[in-house]
Point group: D2
Chain length 93, copies 4
């Protein structure tokens, strides 16, 4: 495992498995003709759960890849732009 989230691998994958189940559950709600509003509520829950995965990855990335003495000055600007752009994509998704 090259990157900083190695220790959190199991935790992240468990969360993603749960999210996969939630998405499948939404498909089942549509199959069964459940009320739109209840389906929208589940969609909000999936997005909130995805955001938690994103924040966990951002935490590990910041901890291990940004605040890392091995990142020389020459690489810093690129690393900073990368992470700011990634947050920008999450905000504007």
């Amino acid at each position: 495992m090259k990157y900083g989230y190695g220790e959190k691998k199991d935790k992240l994958q468990n969360r993603l498995r749960r999210i996969e189940g939630q998405v499948r559950g939404i498909s089942r709600m549509i199959e069964e003709g459940k009320y739109c509003i209840d389906i929208l509520t589940q969609i909000s829950a999936v997005e909130a759960a995805m955001d938690k995965v994103a924040l966990e990855l951002l935490r590990e990335h910041t901890r291990h890849c940004l605040m890392n003495d091995a990142v020389g000055p020459a690489d810093r600007e690129e690393k900073v732009s990368e992470v700011v752009d990634a947050v920008g994509r999450l905000l504007a998704k």
Copy 2:
């Protein structure tokens, strides 16, 4: 199918199946130790795709459940609150 998204059932379920595959793909990226930033990009893509499903449901709900002559004045306030609250949850997820 009781609710208004009946005609869009297949389209919505296809989208959700694709999203499920994307979530599984993110788990695989973690398994393979892919770069955090690339995983964050995929998470943004999943959330954007979920938003499209939500907007499609909102469209069908508005079309068939709100703008529906069968909704009497007594039920209107409740219907309005339901939909506004659902949008609020999506905005604040």
Copy 3:
């Protein structure tokens, strides 16, 4: 006042005045060299307050402009698209 939010005009304008003050407060925090994280927190507060204004407008629009017997079938599709697109812009801002 042509549109549905007429009764809420004062409430909405009070909120916007408060938001204007908050934005000015953020500029002052920058002037005074306050800590970035505290400024980011204030930015989240402004966006949450803007979302509340948006939801209030959406409520009045749904109540008076969508669930309105005067909207004939020919206009419905356009009205539905308008509101769904507006929510889409709020979600993707």
Copy 4:
């Protein structure tokens, strides 16, 4: 100026002044009874502009306060949590 955004102070304050004007413009739209959907579009624009200010601050914070050799190991965890929590608040606003 203690913090990292010092060099960007003018740029940030110009943006905030523009946002203040946009908020005032929204209040004027309400005064003049403009169409709800057009007001919602302006609200999205304000939120997008606020996000840009937030991303600029996040960039300067990451550049100067996180990727800073002066931050010792003991302070890192706290700095990481601070920034991740701030991004979380922006995502969930």
